[in-house]
């Protein structure tokens, strides 16, 4: 009885948890007049999706988001792994201070520094540019911390072998450590891509130019422009959400690994 009850409860709750997402997906495929009708659509239609993709620069928004998310992910992982390598495996004066300095920035979330960060970005001429969307999003201690934890556990012998072969620090990092960290880099890339694809506050703050609008801005802009055209708003929401769900399903195990590691220590 006990063994059977809890799994069934879990399944029921899981269905309730995803119901809103499924509901939106189904509603986006309904004709405009049906959108508030309860239940299955009388006819399935792709008109809403088509309209949003063709009449609104949705592809442009998606391209912008893709550019930003991919660039940030690649550069961030590169920089973070370099920093993490130094912190985990090299000895140098000031290591403790630099490490705690980097970690203390973890307490600072974007909304907290939004105003001064905007002023800094403005001074640097980053307003209304791809650089403005990309560069400030790269730097985050979270990735450094996670990679460092991972690098601490790589056996020293592997590096020593490379050392004996006459490799400098760069070669050791590039040819020994980086290839070994593929799994954790893959996990982090899923995480970083999702975070940047979903970013809203910073793009909202740093861009005015409609051509630089990222997908989340585009979708939230639908609210004002198409206030009661829920079929179109939902279609846009679905378009914004589909890539994240696909990335999640494809990289699920990796994402879960990364999440678990963050919770561990």
């Amino acid at each position: 009885m006990k063994i059977r009850f809890f799994p069934i409860l879990a399944h029921v709750l899981a269905i309730i948890a995803v119901a809103p997402l499924l509901w939106i997906l189904i509603s986006a495929l309904k004709p405009a007049e049906d959108v508030f009708n309860f239940g299955w659509p009388s006819t399935w239609t792709l008109d809403n999706l088509q309209y949003v993709l063709l009449k609104i620069p949705m592809p442009r928004f998606m391209l912008n988001s893709a550019i930003v998310a991919v660039t940030v992910t690649v550069i961030a992982l590169f920089f973070h792994s370099m920093a993490a390598y130094a912190l985990a495996r090299l000895r140098f004066p000031g290591r403790g201070i630099i490490f705690s300095g980097i970690m203390s920035t973890l307490l600072v979330s974007l909304p907290v520094i939004l105003v001064p960060l905007f002023l800094v970005a403005k001074q640097l001429g980053l307003l209304d540019s791809y650089a403005g969307l990309i560069v400030p999003s790269i730097f985050h201690a979270f990735g450094i911390f996670l990679l460092r934890q991972y690098y601490l556990n790589i056996p020293r012998e592997l590096e020593e072998a490379a050392d004996l072969d006459g490799c400098g620090y760069w070669r050791r990092y590039w040819s020994v450590i980086l290839p070994l960290s593929r799994p954790v880099l893959a996990s982090l890339s899923v995480l970083f891509f999702l975070a940047n694809w979903n970013a809203f506050l910073w793009p909202l703050t740093i861009t005015r130019n409609p051509d630089l609008r990222v997908i989340q801005l585009g979708v939230s802009g639908m609210q004002g422009q198409y206030a009661s055209a829920w079929n179109l708003i939902l279609a846009a929401a679905v378009i914004a959400a589909v890539p994240t769900v696909v990335v999640f399903v494809a990289g699920q195990r990796r994402l879960v690994d990364a999440m678990k590691t963050t919770g561990l220590k």
Binding site: P7, A10, L13, A14, I15, A17, V18, P20, L21, W23, I24, S27, F36, F79, A83, Y85, A86, L87, R91, F92, R95, I102, T105, L107, V108, S109, P111, V112, I113, L114, V115, P116, L117, F118, L119, V120, L124, V135, I138, F139, Y169, L194, N198, F200, L201, S220, Q223, W230, L234, A237, A241, V245, V247, F248, V249, M259, K260, T261, G263, L264
Partner: protein, 306 residues
Amino acid sequence: MARTRAKPKAGMTRKRREALAAYAFLAPDTIGLLIFVAIPMVLAFGVAFFKVDGFGNYQYVGLANYKLMAGDDQLWASLKVTAIYVVTFVPIAFVVSFALAMLVRNHFKGIGWVRSAFFLPNVVSLVVVGLIWQFLLVDKRGALSKILAPVGLGDVSFLGTPSLALGTYVVISVWFLMGYQMLVFLAGLKDVPKELEDAAQIDGAGSWQRFRYVIWPLLRPTSFFVVVNSTIGAVTGLQAFDLVFVLTKGGPARATSTVVLYIYEQAFTFNNMGYAAALTTVVVAILVVCTGLMFGFTRGGRFDEN
């Protein structure tokens, strides 16, 4: 140690080379974090003493921005909203996600899908989450109104009634975050040795006793992480901004105006950058005190009782 002793002559240069390499490896991220996190952080304290207009002209005003706060009812209202949000959201999210973790802890058929299902809301952006719930909660026509109609709640306007809007926002936040926290708890639970539980069971401990005396104490570091994390998220996280911005814009009657939304409005709607910076410093102070208190009460989550 062994390595340096093996090559005593190369000792000094090697040490120096290693240090130089380390600084080079650290340079990009450290400089980036300085420019885009540390300097803005410090700058907030400086800008707080200025009046900054929309054109970027700075005028020194001393403590005027701080004095302004005393009479700013909207600030106090938004601090109150944030406080209520934190003290309701953090415990509810904790209990819900912990319960989910216990529920999906042991293997059963379809567990993979169940875990993903709980996590899925967290994958979608807060903008989309906001739009989804706005749609589900459209007055009288939304899905929730229709579901609740048979029990006589069909006419309730969840987002349009000041007394209900904040509660609705809490529920949506929990739905968004529970899967993530569940995973964190699952990771913690994985560290609870099965033998300990088995031993307790042999000693005659029931499931509640095993939970109370074996699982719960061992989960304290994890619990601490979850509480700190969700508190910071609730006070100054993206969910305190993105979700409110899309869902209600702080309304109705400012019932959901969190303090970070208020700071944003001051800075970018009213162009009061200096005042916004001053508000930022206050929020940071509150956050530091909160985190410090939590750390103090729990000794960093270690709870070494003996």
